[in-house]
Subunit: 351 residues, 2 copies
């Protein structure tokens, strides 16, 4: 029987871990706006429910949507709970977007926290998906942090789809282990897994955080708000970035691509724009004028520079391109997108 | 103060998990015979104790050595035991050779068994090594099974030191995850880890087992004992092999190499002889005569052939060569070694 029809098949229950985080919220809003989702190449299904699992409560606009349920608590505790009234994963769960994670700085400072939040939680989530026996799709948000440069093992000039990851952080190791677990749970037929490696996201709205990459949003976001911000690395340091929109596009494509289009169980590295802080500042000047750019303080911080320079800056994302996922062409567009989406965060007059 | 002296520094307490298994026993005998061990480039230390941890008891010759202690039980249970009278790892443990594992066939048939025996046990062992706070050396026996060919992701014609593993079995995934854990525990300074990938060992003495690779020993061992044996793959199927002696040499080199000589935390792939069953049979004929070779039954088994053909057959082990680890030059030598070491298992007259 052919299932081709203008009417979406359904229903489709979605779980997003880290659902109150920056990417989780954006993903939920995007999914609710599109109203339907094609699961791994299947005909589109109506999105009937999105469960946002997070320690924090999601924003009011999401809670106001009748299709949204919030499951608030520690992910490990929610998964460990026997006979939970509201389990994280049920037989109705069509897809889990697993975005919840402790960030790299936390994992480096507190090894056990990282092992619990990134590693044990991922394993417990996969076991929960296996236990329902309905083979849910699982999109695992891995990270470019699986790659890391070191004197003993330099990374190649550009990351290829088959480049060997040599993580130089516990966060990177934990993400890489998560990829392996998702791959084997998929091979065994317990889930239909999709490993997708995200880039540093810029321009990220909101406040600075403790991540070494924080300045890559802050040096644009703060000046647009009339606030001074530091760039702690050399202006010509190459960096790989992706906008929030392209990042969410990549995550959704991972959910929707057919098995054949997706290809191997190995993680797919998303594309990135390679730029430099100097080029980012030049773009900011073109978009917002010299008064805005003058708010950037070029204050080198060797500690941050030494971390950032171990990150890959050039991504040769052939597999992603085959799925229609391309990097932004220039940073000007990324700034324009940020201004369009965050008008209240822009205080200075834009030319 | 220079520590160069003819007298070994000491003492050196060694733990071998899987210590009653084929490789564990051979490693223990080799270490006892050499009497001392240079830990990660340090001056040689006297081997004062070897603890053999295994579900089975070690053979009598090992138990008769005053330096040998047997710790018999399930590795997970031994590690979980609080306030154990005889813990697996103590402050005196200078080095752990972690060889214990469920084999590939078991892990494929029983996913949870593999996750417990290969994955959870390795993590618990690393936590025990971290808890003693003395940074023991840990040699982790990984496997060529981290590599696997699949239609979606073919392996390259030869495995290089930086080839991306794409495991096609739960065993391979679990070993690859173990490598990542050992790497990060090392980077964090909890242990001094050495990941070393072993090859299929041939000729393995003893009885056939359920492994798909079992015939690669059996087709030599059984005919030498006057017993018929099957070769279930096409005679020209390329396979990568290492003798028991070279395998143990590689494991000990991993323990003894200085950090600088060893290089990155990424696993070191041991060298292998690339041969074919046809060439192995020709070697057997040269060494033992046509009557012995006539005991090989060339009976194709598509199930085994389909597994074996996904295994890498060519290893370009540049890093191992830099440590003086080279493959055997021909299979004749491997057969000669087996005959020399197992005279009672050879029933037919050798020319």
């Amino acid at each position: 029987m052919l299932m081709q029809s203008a009417q979406p098949a359904g229903p489709c229950h979605i779980v997003i871990t880290g659902g109150a985080g920056f990417l989780g919220v954006r993903l939920a809003r995007t999914l609710l706006a599109q109203g339907q989702l094609s699961l791994a190449g299947a005909p589109p299904a109506s999105i009937t429910r999105i469960t946002l699992v997070d320690r924090a409560a999601p924003p009011a606009d999401l809670l106001a949507d009748a299709r949204v349920t919030a499951l608030t608590g520690d992910l490990n505790e929610l998964l460990e709970e026997k006979d939970a009234v509201a389990p994280v994963v049920t037989k109705d769960t069509a897809i889990v977007f697993h975005l919840a994670a402790a960030v790299s700085g936390e994992c480096e400072a507190d090894f056990d926290l990282g092992m619990r939040s990134n590693f044990a939680a991922t394993l417990a989530l996969l076991q929960a998906c296996r236990a329902v026996k309905t083979k849910p799709v699982v999109v695992f948000a891995s990270s470019l942090a699986v790659f890391g440069d070191s004197p003993e093992q330099p990374i190649p000039p550009a990351i290829e789809d088959n480049t060997l990851p040599t993580p130089q952080s516990s966060y990177g190791i934990q993400k890489f282990i998560g990829e392996q677990l998702v791959a084997d749970y998929t091979r065994k037929g317990f889930i239909r897994g999709r490993n997708v490696r995200l880039m540093t996201v810029s321009v990220r709205p909101g406040k600075p955080n403790a991540a070494a990459s924080s300045f890559l949003s802050g040096m644009i976001r703060e000046p647009l708000a009339g606030v001074r911000a530091a760039c702690p690395v050399a202006p010509d340091t190459p960096v790989a970035l992706s906008s929030p929109a392209r990042t969410v596009q990549g995550i959704i494509r991972a959910a929707e691509a057919s098995d054949q289009a997706w290809g191997p169980r190995t993680a797919l590295t998303l594309p990135a724009l390679t730029t430099t802080p100097a080029e980012m500042a030049a773009a900011l000047e073109r978009v917002a004028g010299p008064e805005v750019v003058a708010l950037i303080d070029w204050v080198p911080d060797p500690a941050i520079h030494n971390i950032v320079k171990t990150w890959p800056a050039r991504i040769h994302a052939v597999r992603a391109a085959g799925l229609g996922l391309l990097p932004e062409e220039n940073f000007d567009d990324i700034i324009q997108e940020y201004i369009r989406e965050n008008p209240y965060a822009v205080k200075l007059p834009i030319r």
